[in-house]
């Protein structure tokens, strides 16, 4: 399972993180992780999982799995397939890819069966509590209105983090809690951890940065 505190980077389907460009980012994170000892992980597009896995040591995640078992599901993301490609975990229910509650339950169960680490995304305290009841490894609370924005959730709405942590731990203390949305620097990471989070989930703040190494080093400084 992910070592905490952790910084998880979701590269989405950004042009700057497709194909070999995803690998470039993964390699940079790999170098920094091994240099600093920080716990870093990257979630990439399914087409890029294997290439990243073959070239870096940090945990590579899928961005999504579908609630299916092997069979006739043309074009859907099979949990066994991301595992076979070398992913050690997956995001589930990202705000850009929300699932039905019964399907989240299936995805969590399937991840556990396959020993895939998993981070279920939630959008507020209420849904964090709901997801905690499914006992995933991690959940990541991200207010949708702050995603991709300039203000970190830890500044704009610190209570959503601390209250999610409290509510989640009351339901299942083994569920790790990450937070995300607008996280950009070491100060945001530090604050997240002070608020009780086990780490952060972020995307554009790194992928779109002019100097990714600088941003990553700053983020790591907050761990």
């Amino acid at each position: 399972m992910l070592k905490t505190p952790v910084i998880v980077l979701n590269v989405k389907t950004y042009e700057e993180a497709t194909g070999k460009k995803a690998l470039e980012i993964a390699k940079l994170m790999d170098t920094l992780a091994s240099e600093t000892g920080a716990s870093l992980a990257i979630a990439v597009q399914p087409t890029d999982i294997q290439m990243c896995v073959e070239n870096v040591s940090i945990p590579v995640f899928a961005e999504h799995i579908d609630p299916i078992t092997p069979g006739s599901h043309t074009g859907w993301i099979l949990p066994e397939a991301v595992k076979a490609a070398g992913a050690v975990g997956t995001l589930i229910n990202h705000s850009e890819h929300r699932l039905k509650i019964a399907d989240i339950d299936v995805c969590v169960t399937r991840s556990k069966e396959l020993n895939l680490d998993h981070i279920v995304c939630t959008n507020n305290v209420a849904t964090s509590k709901a997801i905690a009841a499914l006992s995933p490894n991690f959940l990541a609370v991200e207010p949708p209105e702050l995603i991709g924005g300039d203000v970190s959730v830890t500044t704009a709405n610190p209570e959503i983090v601390s209250r999610s942590v409290d509510a989640v731990k009351k339901i299942d203390k083994h569920v790790g809690v990450l937070c995300g949305a607008g996280v950009k620097n070491g100060k945001d990471v530090k604050k997240a951890i002070e608020l009780g989070a086990d780490g952060v989930l972020l995307a554009s703040g790194v992928v779109k940065a002019k100097d990714r190494e600088k941003v990553l080093r700053d983020l790591i400084s907050g761990l």
Copy 2:
């Protein structure tokens, strides 16, 4: 573009066609294509595209793309990503992964922009006509009730093939027409071509076969 008449194999998310097992099938098809000169193509899971592309010469397709451009679309299938992984084409709107009409239009347009060959699946004569109006490279008509079954569409419902071909060519004669559902042997392939089809799309008939080479050789004999 795919050389016709063509046999396209969709390996779905079958256990027997995930990860290295997908590559095994691709290699077998590659050997037979080069030996016989037949036009064969394979559609694989996104996680397996690159591995197949690096090891075979036959066209490798994605099973699906989502109607998106690069950006914030966590966990969806970016057309650019399957292209970057080396796919030369994609299925669109498979009966197990149906899309909204406006989204099929976007997928066809995006495929053309990226020079990705594309096969849009339809389920009857009416939807074949509708899709023909979008002028895709190919469409593949597959009656859902026959998919995965023991009786070939060319036997159970030959009119759906011939009438789709007629209707499609009347709307846009440049659209290739494949047919599928229950296709299992050379006789079925031969009949499909006699009915005016440019080839067949099939899945379980090969993937689940005990002796895939034998089945593939028989299918090829019908071209």
Copy 3:
């Protein structure tokens, strides 16, 4: 709020319960409720809500609401609209109409805002716990594989009821718990209540019955 123990009938989109036929069933339940004092409620199609409300005294529910506020949502079910038509409550997330977790949260919140009673359907103990965390008025646990079948959940899987009740009450003791799937007679109702449920949700057992009055009287006898 619904008086418990309660029998809630969901008439789905059965031909036998569309238009005036829905009203017939509602009237029969109304007569029996007033005669026996039993707490009965009916969920009908949106087109039939007003007609039922105008003609019966038992609570009339919608079968579904969408997670929206007034605005540009052509063809979706506005919570305000079912309220305006006279419904006093609604089902949410029925197994035939599942919603994303963030959307269930919105539907529960919107129901509370509009003072609409609400019953959120779940499919197992895990999802019952998850939904309990959203603190709805009621949830109704229904194993999908038993819905519409001949064996009552209370016979086939009594633990799913008792364990859901326990798990739900641990998270929020104010959440009422119904159960459903295969419930057909008074014995099933009695067992449901013994297992800790506040009532039952059923459909075909009444709608499809040859002698609905007889079935309803039997069900009521179990309260």
Copy 4:
């Protein structure tokens, strides 16, 4: 079938058009239709169909139907139900409620079976052609980016109307073509008809107007 040229008002789920407020608008249109002889129709929420039908003579449409037959489809919109409530027609595939191509085909077929008039919405010339191939009574082309805006499609993009008309008639001359998006006054209606359309589909321009009678009279003047 709708008499053309026609003005069809979709009241969406606007607060100003829910419950009795929908009826108010329907009555105003009814008065103006009978006074001027203009062909007017209104599409309302399912909960409001019966009330409108009982009080006005103009055609009342549903805003949506789902691709289903009677049965176990809790909370979905059954074509038979809107028919039983008195609707004479329905919108299908509105840009706010898009459907899969196979499902549009089912909705068109089901509408024909039930003798429900139907208007299938499209978003550009390509999808208009595709839908024409399904031979619906009408289609309504509405560029999504102009919906609810201040500039009429007939001004912003007249070619989309004339080209859709041409393309549709080439595929099936019996399909009526409406246009919509930003239509607000008689000049827009007149232009639509000059461009070959059989009428217009509009929403906010009337529902949100301060003086609806004035706006409707102006629109009618363009017929």
